[in-house]
């Protein structure tokens, strides 16, 4: 078997990212100021963003499909890195876990996500998923002296391993059925017809749906999310509520719309109940939370339910709206976590919802930012959250899923209660005590970026929507 040097162009962003992550790991040994390590990570990641447009194509025998679809998702992942690192710098020193490995782990996790997004083979997809997940398990337990951080890490790890088992079982069944693990070859084989209602294929699709539902925290596979989100360091919660979720949607779209593209009638029956349950449980359980990280965990579950509508629609518009929604979600969710991180100071946890009481009196700017992010998460115009939801629901209606969209709108209205309750507490209550905000230039920059984009996409969504549509067209 002759070995031909594969074209490395399409994997250049991943390669550079790997070199960067290894460099950060090494640099941590000699650089004593961890802020410098953080800045190096940001600069390197920004450089990788520049490489994205030039790295299109297929390589390694079709194992890497670097198309517009994966490029858009990779942009979300890299953005997630930059924003997360910006909100982490001050926070890590407050939590006294200012270690350089944190940044390396974030970069490695992101490499895993990037590999998932452009995976053309189920083996690459699985390995990318493991790389992402293993790094995130460690990050969740990064505050070693905090028992809740340990718990978060362990729960995430155990249930993640369980999900990996499902994924591998699904892959092995599909391999037996089609004789290949190449996503496009599976699509070609299944596309020849005669597989509708094939019990083994349906079981395989159920296993894939279960495994990906774990990653995007969809009900009934969401049990890990509230504990993991609450216990993990807040910056890691922000990171894992955006990155792994977007990566989960990237592979969900790739596997279900490409590999199982001809089986849509079969798998939409699996995904629709998951979507409805996810929106229902996420939004209703969020109502009774007292911890804001836990509340945002349930909110994150609910948002996965909305985004599933775009996959269920199965159209190009549906895919584009999922991509846009993941981008919007990255901005508004990291923005909200950025405000929560500001409340954390040396002797104050600041992660209870009651801590927000009267925030507007003493810190009007922080309260105003939180107000905008909460509006966006609710989906109130003129914020990005509204536009994201609007295009998702439109694509599902156009694909003929009016009933599901009506349910989604009802749950979306319910969600207004717990998001706007925070706004009410901030503006209508008297402050209980003096709250010192831990601000830093980096955190300020992250909040400025998220604020600008939340408002900008809310007012002029067409730029990013057109980008998402163009990206979805290459898919």
């Amino acid at each position: 078997m002759p070995f031909l040097m594969p074209d490395l162009g399409p994997v250049m962003p991943e390669l550079v990212m790997t070199v960067l992550a290894l460099f950060i790991l090494m640099a941590d040994l000699v650089i004593k100021r961890k802020e410098t390590v953080a800045l190096l990570s940001i600069a390197g990641t920004a450089g990788v963003v520049m490489l994205l447009p030039g790295a299109l194509g297929t390589t390694f025998n079709g194992m890497v499909l670097s198309d517009g679809y994966s490029m858009f998702f990779k942009f979300i992942f890299l953005l997630n890195v930059i924003l997360t690192v910006l909100i982490s710098i001050k926070y890590l020193s407050i939590e006294r876990v200012n270690f350089g490995e944190y940044y390396a782990l974030i970069l490695f996790s992101t490499i895993g996500m990037m590999l998932m997004a452009s995976a053309g083979d189920l083996i690459v997809l699985y390995l990318g998923l493991e790389l992402m997940a293993l790094s995130t398990y460690v990050l969740a337990g990064f505050i070693r002296y905090d028992i809740r951080s340990n718990e978060a890490s362990l729960k995430y790890f155990l249930l993640g391993a369980f999900a990996s088992g499902f994924l591998l079982y699904g892959i092995s069944l599909i391999y037996g059925l089609t004789g290949t693990t190449d996503i496009r070859m599976i699509a070609g084989y299944l596309g020849r017809g005669g597989f509708s209602g094939n019990p083994m294929l349906i079981i395989s699709m159920v296993f894939f749906a279960v495994a990906f539902s774990f990653k995007i925290a969809a009900v009934p596979f969401h049990m890990w999310a509230p504990d993991a989100y609450e216990g993990a360091p807040t910056s890691v919660t922000a990171f894992m509520s955006v990155g792994p979720k977007a990566a989960g949607f990237a592979v969900l779209g790739r596997v279900f719309l490409t590999a199982f593209g001809s089986m849509q009638a079969d798998w939409s029956i699996i995904l629709i109940p998951i979507a409805i349950l996810t929106m229902g449980v996420g939004n209703i359980v969020a109502l009774s939370q007292t911890n804001i990280k836990r509340m945002l965990a349930y909110s994150s579950i609910a948002h996965a339910g909305y985004a599933l509508l775009g996959i269920i629609a199965g159209t190009q518009d549906g895919v584009a709206s999922v991509m846009l929604y993941m981008l919007v979600y990255a901005f508004m969710n990291i923005g909200a976590f950025g405000v929560i991180i500001m409340l954390r100071s040396e002797n104050f946890k600041g992660d209870n919802i009651s801590d927000f009481e009267g925030l507007a009196k003493n810190h009007p700017l922080a309260a105003a930012l939180m107000l905008i992010f909460m509006f966006s998460l609710t989906g109130i115009p003129p914020t990005a959250g509204f536009m994201g939801k609007f295009y998702l629901f439109m694509s599902a209606i156009n694909a003929g899923y009016l009933g599901v969209v009506i349910i989604a709108v009802i749950f979306s209205a319910i969600s207004a209660y717990f998001y706007l309750r925070i706004v009410m507490l901030m503006y209508m209550k008297e402050p209980k005590g003096e709250i010192v905000l831990s601000t830093s230039p980096a955190l300020g920059l992250a909040l400025a970026i998220t604020l600008i984009f939340v408002l900008f996409i809310g007012v002029a969504p067409s730029i990013f929507l057109d980008l998402a549509k163009a990206a979805a067209a290459t898919f």
Partner: protein, 173 residues
């Protein structure tokens, strides 16, 4: 003569199921680990039976040799007396039995209508001629080079993660 492979397969498949059940139902963790050792040897034999001698060797060296020793270390750190008194299963075990039973019935039913996909280049004949180890080595470093390299990153993360979670310094300054 033609019955022999089926007999072998039947024995190993049956033994693997019984041993797995023994592993999860024993109260004493040391017994569980010992049954697991036997289970790993049976799995290795199954691989050998399928002409996969390299995987069989790895199964014995890595799983039986390395991972099981690690398990034993962990078990020895437990308080065995306390462990023996606690209930083996949590209260919701009937639900687990129901779900896994359901999956079993579904899989078993789907086996009846299974249609295997097209066969690849690596026939039993070819593998017996070239040997499994050589074939695996060749394909791993050519066609599957990319996933192979990702696996090395996964291992690196395991090392970094272990150091991060277990090193001496808990807090930075």
């Amino acid at each position: 003569m033609s019955m022999l492979p089926q007999l072998f397969f039947g024995y190993f498949a049956f033994a693997i199921i019984v041993l797995s059940l023994l592993v999860i139902t024993r109260k004493n963790p040391v017994h569980s680990v010992m049954w697991m050792l036997l289970l790993f040897f049976h799995i290795a034999s199954m691989y050998l039976f399928l002409n996969a001698e390299f995987i069989a060797a790895i199964q014995v060296i890595v799983y039986a040799g390395a991972i099981l020793v690690l398990f034993l270390f962990v078990v020895l750190l437990l308080n065995l007396k306390e462990e023996l008194e606690s209930a083996r299963f949590v209260g919701s075990w009937p639900a687990a039995v129901l779900i896994s039973g359901g999956i079993f019935v579904g899989l078993a039913a789907s086996m009846l209508s299974v249609s295997l996909g097209p066969k690849g280049n690596f026939t039993v004949d070819l593998i017996q001629r070239v040997t499994h180890t050589k074939v695996l080595g060749q394909i791993l470093y050519t066609e599957y080079l990319f996933p192979f390299e990702i696996a090395s990153l996964v291992l690196l993360i395991a090392v970094v993660g272990a150091i991060v979670l277990a090193k001496k310094r808990m807090r930075s300054h």
